[in-house]
Symmetry: C3
Subunit: 135 residues, 3 copies
Amino acid sequence: MQQHELIVPVSGRGMIEITQQVRNWVASSGVSQGLLTLFVRHTSCSLIIQENADPDVRHDMELFFSTLVKDGNPAFLHRNEGDDDMSAHIRSAMLGISLNIPVSQGQPVLGTWQGIFLYEHRERQLQRHVFMHLA
Amino acid sequence: MQQHELIVPVSGRGMIEITQQVRNWVASSGVSQGLLTLFVRHTSCSLIIQENADPDVRHDMELFFSTLVKDGNPAFLHRNEGDDDMSAHIRSAMLGISLNIPVSQGQPVLGTWQGIFLYEHRERQLQRHVFMHLA
Amino acid sequence: MQQHELIVPVSGRGMIEITQQVRNWVASSGVSQGLLTLFVRHTSCSLIIQENADPDVRHDMELFFSTLVKDGNPAFLHRNEGDDDMSAHIRSAMLGISLNIPVSQGQPVLGTWQGIFLYEHRERQLQRHVFMHLA
């Protein structure tokens, strides 16, 4: 059983691919078969698996979610940290904050087009903590 | 490997924090490092992690999801149990019914503002069964 | 620790129940207590748990999600594979691609009404790969 915390610096809203950092840690663990869990310790960003070949997918994802969950909704009560505060919490709940990926032959069993992304929902610079667990 | 079922009584739609019950069970297990899985055995409520400091977040979450997934949609066919029946199934699918949280130093690795919630989507009194697994 | 890949043929958009195949594999494993993880190796379908008694639920789910995530949105950039391409990626991110179900007494601890579904979001014939991990 191995655990490690990955720090991901972000500079505002958007999807940041972390597949390579995760693959490197799994490879360094020496574990050939197991279950990898990623858990982000925040309530205003997400961890998702998504198409990583075409960067247009990231553009369209953001277009969709920023339309679905409007920033600055005047009906929201929780607005202390700005227009992107409550919308970030809602996106985080919808898209989730953890991933579970089986590991086989020393590698996460990601499909050909699957990349691992931290999806930042806040409009600011932050350090995000991704806890990795492999057993 | 330890398993336990937590019964959560609910009195209608809304987010009920269960962080303390979960923490207590993990502490009583004596496990210092592992993976905690929570799984709710129903299709009309959810388990989510969300901001637990400001109760306004719960208000805004409900405002958002009750607007996004309208109760009593006349186009729905599955309406036998009332206006909140099918909308509860949709919310459950969107928000998910299980959580995976690594455990380190005898504690779930929740961030400072992360609480564990059962989000009830039905408008009635119920007993919800949350299965906990730790290994 | 056991792993197996289940191939699920699909013939277009919709929810396909795979509960029995999953139950059969768990039973054949001989594992009486553990954690079952299902992970689909694609970015345009989902794995969800949903009501499996009334087929109307599947109809209403599709009605809701096809309205929420419109096919052929002209604002999307990623359109190379047709009108259902980007919408399928968004649905996949919203509904998730993995499930974790504790196993107790040799059975997944599914509630009475819970079925396991592969929810296909593309409008075509495909072979979907569901990786199963049990430990």
